[in-house]
């Protein structure tokens, strides 16, 4: 290559790199150091340690999900103490304490700097008293403004090719702050006043993603088929427990294994419906917020459909929770400090309420007959 062409090449490269937008980190740098330290009695070293622990907790809190995550959660076995069935967080904590223990505890950076144990991370994930004051950060792992939610809304929105899940992530993160406790309550995480519209955007993004994507009638139908197909595949119809004896078996159940079994024709009738994409069809749905008339209609539809009713699926969600987990907004105006929930500022959030919609499905071959019966049921009520 001649000197001139070499020079042009370097110039081209420089020019290309100048045209390229500067590389942005996936998430902007956090501003935890801006949190008033006396509130939390933490030094910079303490903050750095906590930040690393929260990162580990956030990274690992969902590793315990079963294949196709929430779709198969109903197949977790019952706990021995009678407190319902296991939750995926318990599997996450067991995986952290088991297969991931060495990776965390023997890591040179950890040994030389933080000295975290697998128990430290697991305690934060499962909300155990062993997390001690680290409990303060748990809202970032699982809460109304947790890192997972901020990530999945944007990620799912992008990959589903929709715009519903978008909100101003950078603005929101840059306004996260610690709010001093009052009236004997502990400090808590919240947002500065300037960030409340960004927080409102997050709540609305979630509302739209659920109503338009996650609760789409066909997507919900596939939850039914996945759950029922998995029930056929699993010995005893449920996953192994998150105990040292059974965890290894549980970890073998991943998406690939399930897809492989489906391709082999396993999973019974529902496996077959999945493979052929011949899913259940929606024949009736209540309004998002059920009225008395909706409930009466639903009862009548159930009676009319009888054996044609294949499955009912709840599609309920609360968009903004009040009380302990609400989003607190901190305002410091001319030295006058006030704290109020987001719903006090945002009229939209205040009136979002919750959704308790019910979807009623039939088998594809019964679609016409079922639609006819639903029509009769509704017509009789009209």
């Amino acid at each position: 290559m001649s000197d001139r062409s070499q020079a042009r090449s370097v110039e081209d490269q420089r020019s290309r790199s100048e045209r390229r937008p500067p590389r942005q980190p996936l998430l902007p740098p956090t501003r935890t150091r801006r949190i008033p330290q006396p509130i939390l009695t933490r030094t910079d070293t303490g903050f750095r340690r906590n930040r690393q622990l929260v990162r580990l907790g956030a990274l690992l809190h969902d590793v315990g999900h079963a294949p196709f995550s929430h779709a198969s959660e109903e197949l977790f076995p019952d706990q021995e103490d009678g407190e319902g069935n296991y939750a995926h967080e318990q599997y996450s904590a067991a995986i952290v304490r088991g297969p991931l223990k060495a990776a965390i505890e023997d890591h040179k950076l950890n040994q030389g700097n933080y000295g975290f144990t697998a128990d430290d991370v697991a305690a934060l994930i499962e909300g155990s008293a062993a997390a001690k004051q680290g409990i303060f950060w748990r809202d970032l792992i699982t809460g109304q403004m947790d890192a997972d939610r901020m990530d999945y809304l944007l990620r799912d929105s992008h990959h589903a090719g929709v715009q519903y899940g978008r909100f101003d992530l950078r603005r929101l993160i840059s306004t996260v702050t610690a709010i001093p406790g009052a009236d004997g309550r502990p400090p808590r995480l919240g947002i500065e006043y300037g960030g409340w519209h960004a927080a409102e955007g997050l709540v609305l993004a979630r509302y739209f993603m659920f109503t338009q994507v996650y609760f789409h009638k066909t997507r919900v139908a596939y939850d039914i088929h996945l759950r029922e197909a998995l029930k056929e595949m699993l010995p005893g119809g449920h996953f192994p427990r998150p105990t040292p004896e059974e965890l290894g078996q549980y970890l073998k159940w991943d998406d690939w294994r399930v897809l492989g079994l489906l391709a082999e024709g396993k999973g019974g009738e529902h496996g077959s419906l999945l493979s052929t994409r011949n899913h259940y069809r929606l024949v009736f749905q209540t309004n998002e917020v059920q009225t008395q008339t909706d409930r009466e209609k639903l009862t009548r539809v159930r009676e009319k459909l009888r054996d044609l009713l294949a499955e009912e699926m709840p599609a309920g969600k609360s968009w903004y929770k009040r009380d302990d987990s609400d989003i607190a907004v901190y305002r410091n105006r001319d030295g006058q400090k006030t704290v109020a929930p987001l719903s006090e500022y945002s009229n939209v959030v205040r009136h979002l309420g919750s959704r308790d919609q019910i979807f009623v499905y039939c088998r594809p071959e019964h679609r016409r007959e079922a639609a006819k019966r639903v029509e009769e049921a509704i017509h009789r009520l009209a």
Binding site: E126, R185, K321
Partner: protein, 163 residues
């Protein structure tokens, strides 16, 4: 939230919630989802009340409370003694006290699950590790009171403290 926790944990009422520990003590977001549903049904009303440096929520009967109560009457009748017991024992306590009491019971039950027996001081110390904004003596006093009422299992009167 704390009444539900105490009702489920101390009285064994099968509410089906899965509580874990947060800044304000035992918490399950499903309780708040259910509260939202109750609000949507106008069974309850929730209003923000402000005090110096903070705020809270006042939950009161909604305009359709009676019809919802009627609907749930068989269930409520079954557990009425338990509900009344919780209200009798804790109904007059402020939110900070309920937060502390809920946390003490939570830490106690965690110890039971891992087959530990704790002295009052040990249990109080674990609670203090999570809730440093409470005075040490006050935590110990609360632990002792709950213990005297037979509500703790890891440091019950019969339990022998380890270490």
């Amino acid at each position: 939230m704390k009444f539900c926790y105490l009702l489920q944990t101390l009285r064994g009422v099968p509410l089906g919630y899965r509580f874990t520990l947060y800044s304000y003590g035992p918490f399950d977001s499903t309780v708040l989802s259910d509260l939202n549903t109750a609000e949507t049904l106008r069974a309850v009303e929730s209003n923000v009340t402000f005090y110096s440096g903070g705020y809270g929520y006042r939950i009161s009967k909604g305009e359709r409370a009676d019809s919802v109560l009627q609907f749930a009457a068989p269930l409520l009748d079954k557990y009425r003694p338990d509900i009344e017991w919780v209200l009798e024992q804790f109904g007059s306590h402020g939110s900070a006290d309920l937060e502390l009491e809920g946390t003490i019971v939570y830490v106690d039950r965690e110890a039971v699950r891992s087959s530990e027996r704790l002295s009052v001081d040990q249990l109080a110390q674990r609670v203090r590790d999570v809730k440093p904004h409470f005075n040490e003596d006050y935590i110990r006093e609360k632990v002792s009171t709950l213990r005297e009422h037979g509500l703790l299992k890891s440091c019950s009167n019969a339990a022998t403290a380890r270490g």
